[in-house]
Structures are given as structure tokens and as C-alpha cells.
């Protein structure tokens, strides 16, 4: 069964934008402090979450996008973060004051082709889709952090209509103790 291609969605009314009960912090868009902000956020993750380092890394990527691509590292501009963790999920909303992710459709298109090349074992085509580069990307942008992010945030990856606010959800699978007997 071919898996439906994951993509970045735009849906202002997505339930993922419901901030009820979520913790909230605001930060200046200081690139050097991204890891610091991330640590402050992950602080509230319950100790039961297993791969907390990966979670930290993925949160850091999203904040980095907001600081760098959204607010262009303008420290006068703020990044607002809402977050909520439990052993079963991690929910994050990050909002910047930038113009929004304009290349979103381009990125989805790029990802679809990349995915098709990957599934068709077409490595020649795939080599053209190794890294996505927006017009303002610099040498520090790997161009593939979003691929990993989309894989990681398996509960959804949604932008608002203005595309300056992204909401992501990660579901942690519950450990199964054995298989229910099916006779």
C-alpha cells in the first residue's frame, strides 16, 4: 500500500490551532538563543517521554525557522510559542511576525516529486530533489530539515492562512504489552 504523500497543510481552522490549556512563552528573535528557548520549552515535557533529544531537536528546527526565515533575526520581533506535552503527545504552536512561508506550495510540490522519485527508485531524478532552497536561503540552510520535520510531526503540520504560524503535533506510540488473543 503506497502511503499518501505527507504535505504541509494550510488550514486556519485546524483544531491544532486551539491553544486552550497550552503553556505559553515569548522570545526575541535572537538566533543565538534558539537552543536556550528550546530548552526552556522542553523543560515541561514529562520525564516519561523517551526520545527527548529528538523532540528537542525538532522543536529547535521550528523555532529556528520562525527566528530566521520569519523574523529575519530581528530581535525587536517576537516569536510566540504555545506548547503542551504528555507521555502520549507533543503539541507546539510557533508564531512569528514575518510575512509567512510563501514558498509553501513550491515546497509541497518539490516534496511530492522527491517522494515519487524515492518510491520509484529513480535516483537520478532524486538527486535533483536532495535539498529545497528558497530564494533567500543561505549556506547554513541545509534545505532538508522540513522533510525530517514532516516525518517527525506525525499528528499534523499546519500553517495558518497568513502562514506565519505553524502548529505541529507529535504522537508518541503507546507501548504494547503483547497481542490480544484473536481466535
Amino acid at each position: 500500500m503506497a502511503q499518501s504523500v505527507k504535505e504541509i497543510k494550510v488550514d486556519e481552522n485546524s483544531p491544532l490551532f486551539d491553544k486552550t490549556g497550552m503553556l505559553h512563552k515569548e522570545f526575541p528573535s535572537d538566533f543565538r538563543q534558539i537552543r536556550y528557548f528550546t530548552l526552556l520549552i522542553v523543560q515541561s515535557a514529562p520525564p516519561d517521554i523517551k526520545d527527548v533529544n529528538l523532540l528537542e531537536q525538532q522543536i529547535s528546527e521550528i523555532i529556528k525557522n520562525a527566528v530566521k526565515h520569519g523574523n529575519k533575526c530581528d530581535t525587536a520581533k517576537k516569536v510566540r510559542v504555545w506548547y503542551d506535552f504528555s507521555p502520549e503527545h507533543a503539541h507546539l504552536i510557533v508564531e512569528d511576525e514575518g510575512p509567512g512561508f510563501q514558498d509553501l506550495e513550491k515546497w509541497n510540490d518539490f516534496n511530492r516529486k522527491r517522494q515519487a522519485a524515492l518510491e520509484g527508485n529513480d535516483f537520478e531524478t532524486l538527486s535533483e530533489y536532495v535539498s529545497f532552497r528558497g530564494e533567500r536561503a543561505d549556506d547554513n540552510d541545509g534545505g532538508n530539515a522540513l522533510f525530517a520535520a514532516l516525518e517527525y510531526w506525525d499528528g499534523g503540520f499546519v500553517f495558518n492562512s497568513k502562514r506565519n504560524c505553524v502548529s505541529t503535533l507529535k504522537l508518541f506510540p503507546k507501548k504494547r504489552q503483547g497481542i490480544k488473543v484473536s481466535r
Binding site: Q43, G178, I179, S182
Partner: protein
């Protein structure tokens, strides 16, 4: 008439009848131990014998006596071989006997001319069943698999011999004569009685072998529990538990090798976790896999099956055992090639079930022409049942250990943090200090301090490390150590911050971040010097007009860059003025409705309690915050330091 009755009574009849009744009772008694119904048949036989004796005592007709002897011989033959399915070997002697019986009966009733062909001759037809008793068992020897069949086979030879003797003696001797009556006819009883003895012996033998089997089972269970139990002491103990369990199952089932599979935590699959001995795979190997012993073994060792996939996946899905006693055309095992080490002959697979959950499966094989017995299968089932519990216990133990690791870390972090908090706050004329801190479980990242630097000067410190647990504790320890070393200097608070920042930035690794607020206050003049590194803005309440002010200064937290220059601001505190330093956990505290306490909540709590001393203020703020947050789980430490200027 009376005489004849007395004669009969004087004769051996009563003794014989008593013997016959005894036999009937014995057979009926043995019925309890006989599940196949043979004993009832023999009881009927003994009854008929008694009936015959009784009838003969009053109607001594030798031809009828011989006829009933043949009937009895056929009856014994029938009962003996009833547990088997027999063809001609059974019916030939029976039909010959039936013919002889018919002739004898006719002769006995006087329908035939006397002496045709003579009852002594016809009686010899009874030798045929005797012969059958000798020969038939040769063909049935391999089928002695139930007590009744075993009885038939073991009693065949004594019966043959006894019957032959009895029939022959009857032909030679006079049936009415005392010699026959005393010596020979009792032989018949002896024969029937020997059946009783043989049957009792068989039952006894079964019992002993059952006891042996159970003793061995208990022994193997002991072995299993010992090997899995002691494994729990080692480091990689789950692996050891499954390894030891599999080894015990393989050895106790007399198998050549086996595998143990466990269900995977997140997927609908089972994976091989242990391989022992030689295990020709009972599933189809991929064509591309080279048929080299090492490669195949490695493939099996890492095999993984979806539920229902292949014979092992099927056992893990249905929880049903699979038993293939030996290789054959009916075997469900695939053919992976002609190599001897690829040929699985006999195969057993048992699910590992705990309550209603399948946690895996264990499977053993015997290669080539080897075979498993029912007992091996039972043993495998037994060990799988008990082994499942050992494996499930290991899971529980692991989970508990993991939990206790998490808890231990949280406890250590809380202890570290507790040692950093000052035991008592310094008392200075003209300045009151109050504080509280409540750590959130597993976080423990807040720190506060009040360090008296001169007779009239105190340095107030509130900070929060980014991160949590022991990692945060380490940062706090570093900050505190540096602070206590440098506060003796006359430098201003901004410089102190710069020094602390240098101390924790970049040298070890780049992961030590903290926000910190320092306030150095002169208790005489009321002059305060405040410097902040990315910390929450201090809150100032002016006593004169009751106004609140957040002393906001955007700054970079500690640990970001070694060369960060920090600024500071100076304010003058008048009598009754209150300065509040606090951490994120205070203003970001959330109630069950999802509302944050915020600077607003804190400000109004301070305003409402402004008449109290610093300690009272801190206490009142804590109460207000606790009331606001209710039972909602705290996500962060909550720390407050309150300074109030009083009359000097």
C-alpha cells in the same frame, strides 16, 4: 432330586461359583481404571462361566459343555482383539469355531447321530482361537498405545497356552471326571484371573510412568525457573531470560534447536529474540539468500513476522499450538533445499500467553528423520506456559527499573537543588527579605540566594537554568559557586553577571544556559543596583502611591556568548517599597481553565499584601498562587524573593 442337589453341593460347584462371582466383582471394580470398556466385557465373560458351571451341574451334557467352551474361547478372542481393527485374522478362527459350535450344539441336543464326528474332535476347533492368540499379536506389536491394547498383547501368549492346554485336556480327559473337574476346569478360572493381574500391572506401570513424567516436568520447571530467575540479576537480563528459557525448552523437549520470539512494542509483528542449537527454518527463505549455514542462521536470528505471516506469525496471532510429530507429506513446513541442515523434520510451536495477551512464541525442531512424541509436545506447552510468566515478569521488572531510574534522577536533582537554597536569610537593619521556592517534580531548575557582602549590603539572586533535572542542577551549582567566590569584590552587579557568564559559557560545552537576576541593595541608603541576564523583569511596588512597575531590561541569558556585556539599572528604595524577583514558573503558572497567573496576578497579589512584612508578603503570594493554580500540575519551579525596605 434332593440327592442330586446334595451331590452338586458336595461337588466343586459352589467353590467355582464363588470364584466366578469374585472374578465378576473384580472386573467390575477395575472398570474405574479402564476407559475403554474392556473390563465390562470380561465381567460378562466371568458371569457366563458361572452360568455354564451352574447349568452343567444339573445338565451334564459333554457336547454342550464343549460347545460353551468354544463360545468362551471365541468370546475371549473377541474381547482381546476388540480394541484393534482386525480382518480375517479374527474372523477365520471365529467362523470355524462357530461351525464347530453349531455341530456340538446340535449333538448336545441329540439332533446328530452320536459320535459324528465326536465332540472330542470338534472340541479341538478351540485350538484355532488359541493359535490366533499366538499369531495375531505379531502384527499388532507396534500398536500397544492404550492400556486395553496393551492388555490384549501382553495376555495373548498366556491365553494361547492356557487355552490350548485346556482344549487339549478336555479332548483327552473325561469332562465329567474328577481329574478334569479339579485340575483342568480351574485352569479356565486361572486364565481369566491372569487377565486381572496383567491389567493391574499395566495400570500400575502407567501410573509409575505418569509419576515419572510429572517428576521430570517438575524438574524441568525448576530448571526453567532457576535459569530465568537467576538471569534477572544480570545487566542484559531480558536477553538472558529468553536465552535461558529457550535453552531449557530445547533440552527438555529433546529438540535439536529452537527460537524464541517476542511481540514487538509498537508494531503488529513478532521478532526472533533468541536462537539456540540448530534450527532449520520452518518458513520459506528468500531465494536470494545464499544457502550458507552462517547466513541462514543470521537470517533466522533477525527474522521478523507480521501477525499471521508464516507458521510462527500464525501462532503469535491465534495463540494456538502447532505440532508436527515428524516429517512427512502432511508436514506444513516448506522445503528450503536438500541440505540436511535445512530439513526440519519434527516441529513444535507454542505461543507465550499471559492472561489473554500473546507476548511471543517459542518453537523447537528436530532435524531430518527425528520425531517428537506427545510428551515432548506437552512438555513444550508446559514450559511455554511457565516461561511466559518469567518473560512477563521481566517486562514488569524492566518497566519498574526504568521508572525508578527516572525517579532517582528526579530525586537527585531535587536534593542538589535543596542544598543550594540558603538555610536562612541574612537580617539587615532597614531591609526585610522573604522567599519561597517550590520545585516542580523532575524539573528543579530554580535557584535563589541572599548573600551578605558587607555589613549593610546584600546581594539578592534569582535564577533559572534552562533544562531540567541533574543537568539543570549542574548549571545551578556552577553559578552558585562562582557567585559566592566573586561577591567579595567591589565590582558592580553588571560586572558580576559578566564574570558568571564567562564562567559558564562555552568552556565545557555550549549547553549551559540560565537566566539570572542580581540585585545588590544597600540597606542604609536604600540604593539598589539591578542587573539581569535574560531574566523576568523585577517588579517594584512604590509605597508612596501604590504604583507597580516592571523593571524591564531586555538582555541575553547566561551561556549564549562569552563576551556578552550586561547593563544595570539603579533605583532608590524608600521605606515601604517592595521589590519582587521571581522566575518563569510564577507568571506562567496555569490553572485548570488554561489561564496564566501572569504579571497581573502577581502584581495584584503584591498590592493586596503590601502592608505585610517581606516574609508575610512571600507567604501571601504563595497562597494566592496556589489558590489560583488549584490542582493543575505545576510545569515549572516557582520561586520568589521579596525585599522590603523598612525603617532603619
Amino acid at each position: 432330586m434332593l440327592d442330586s442337589i446334595i451331590n452338586v453341593l458336595r461337588g466343586p460347584l459352589l467353590a467355582k461359583l464363588a470364584l466366578a462371582v469374585l472374578l465378576v466383582v473384580t472386573f467390575l471394580f477395575l472398570r474405574k481404571k479402564d476407559t475403554e470398556g474392556s473390563m465390562s466385557g470380561y465381567a460378562v465373560m466371568a458371569g457366563l462361566l458361572a452360568l455354564r458351571e451352574f447349568a452343567f451341574a444339573f445338565f451334564p451334557n459333554p457336547a454342550l459343555f464343549d460347545a460353551t467352551d468354544l463360545a468362551l474361547a471365541c468370546g475371549l478372542l473377541f474381547l482381546s482383539f476388540r480394541p484393534f481393527r482386525l480382518g480375517w485374522a479374527f474372523w477365520v478362527p471365529v467362523s470355524v469355531d462357530a461351525a464347530a459350535f453349531a455341530l456340538l450344539a446340535l449333538e448336545g441336543l441329540g439332533a446328530l447321530q452320536a459320535g459324528f464326528p465326536g465332540h472330542q474332535t470338534l472340541r479341538l476347533a478351540g485350538l484355532l482361537p488359541a493359535a490366533a492368540f499366538v499369531f495375531v499379536p505379531f502384527f499388532l506389536r507396534s500398536q500397544a498405545d492404550t492400556p486395553a491394547r496393551n492388555l490384549s498383547l501382553r495376555s495373548a501368549f498366556p491365553l494361547a497356552l492356557g487355552l490350548a492346554l485346556y482344549i487339549a485336556a478336555g479332548s483327552l480327559l473325561d469332562i465329567d471326571g474328577a481329574l478334569f473337574s479339579i485340575l483342568v476346569s480351574t485352569l479356565l478360572y486361572g486364565l481369566v484371573f491372569s487377565l486381572v493381574l496383567i491389567f493391574v500391572d499395566i495400570v500400575q506401570g502407567e501410573l509409575i510412568s505418569a509419576v515419572d513424567y510429572y517428576e521430570e516436568s517438575v524438574d524441568s520447571l525448576y530448571d526453567l525457573l532457576l535459569s530465568t530467575g537467576t538471569a534477572m540479576r544480570s545487566e542484559s537480563f531480558l536477553q538472558d531470560v529468553v536465552d535461558n528459557m529457550l535453552r531449557t525448552v530445547v533440552e527438555r523437549c529433546g529438540a535439536d534447536g529452537g527460537v524464541l520470539l517476542l511481540s514487538d512494542e509498537f508494531d503488529e509483528t513478532v521478532s526472533v529474540r533468541s536462537l539456540y542449537g540448530s534450527y532449520p527454518p520452518p518458513f520459506k527463505l528468500p531465494e536470494t539468500l545464499p544457502k550458507e549455514q552462517e547466513r541462514v542462521e543470521s537470517f533466522v536470528r533477525h527474522a521478523r513476522f507480521k501477525l499471521g505471516e508464516g507458521i510462527l506469525g500464525e501462532v503469535s496471532r491465534t495463540g494456538k499450538h502447532v505440532f508436527v510429530p515428524q516429517a512427512g507429506p502432511d508436514s506444513p513446513l516448506p522445503d528450503n533445499g536438500d541440505e540436511a541442515w535445512l530439513k526440519a523434520g519434527a516441529f513444535i510451536a507454542s505461543p507465550l500467553i499471559v492472561r489473554d495477551r500473546i507476548i511471543g512464541a517459542v518453537s523447537v525442531v528436530k532435524g531430518g528423520a527425528g520425531s517428537f512424541t506427545e510428551r515432548d509436545f506437552d512438555r513444550c506447552k508446559l514450559l511455554a506456559n511457565f516461561g511466559s510468566i518469567a518473560v512477563a515478569n521481566s517486562f514488569s521488572f524492566l518497566e519498574a527499573a526504568e521508572r525508578s531510574d527516572i525517579e532517582r534522577e528526579a530525586d537527585i536533582a531535587a536534593e542538589v537543588q535543596a542544598t543550594l537554597i540558603p538555610k536562612e536569610l541574612p537580617g539587615l537593619r532597614g531591609l526585610e527579605i522573604g522567599a519561597f521556592t517550590t520545585p516542580a517534580y523532575g524539573v528543579c531548575s530554580d535557584y535563589y540566594d541572599a548573600i551578605q557582602t558587607k555589613a549593610e549590603k546584600v546581594l539578592l539572586v534569582v535564577g533559572e537554568a534552562a533544562g531540567k533535572g541533574v543537568a539543570a542542577g549542574v548549571v545551578l551549582v556552577m553559578i552558585r559557586a562562582i557567585l559566592h567566590l566573586i561577591t567579595a569584590s567591589t565590582k558592580d552587579t553588571a560586572t558580576l553577571l559578566q564574570w558568571v557568564n564567562r564562567g559558564i559559557t562555552g568552556k565545557v560545552d555550549s549547553d549551559h544556559y540560565a537566566s539570572l537576576c542580581l540585585a545588590s541593595i544597600d540597606s542604609r541608603s536604600g540604593q539598589a543596583e539591578i542587573a539581569s541576564a535574560g531574566h523576568q523583569s523585577a517588579l517594584l511596588l512604590r509605597a508612596s502611591d501604590g504604583s507597580l512597575e516592571a523593571l524591564d531590561a531586555a538582555s541575553v541569558p547566561l551561556g549564549v556568548a562569552r563576551g556578552t556585556a550586561y547593563g544595570q539599572s539603579s533605583i532608590g528604595l524608600s521605606e515601604g517599597d517592595v521589590l519582587v524577583l521571581y522566575t518563569d514558573g510564577i507568571v506562567e503558572a496555569m490553572n485548570a481553565q488554561g489561564r496564566q497567573y501572569g504579571l497581573k496576578g502577581l502584581g495584584s497579589a503584591v498590592q493586596r499584601a503590601k502592608g505585610l512584612g517581606a516574609e508575610g508578603l512571600a507567604e501571601r503570594i504563595k497562597e494566592d498562587l496556589d489558590q489560583f493554580a488549584g490542582l493543575a500540575r505545576p510545569h515549572d519551579d516557582r520561586t520568589i524573593l521579596v525585599i522590603k525596605r523598612t525603617r532603619a
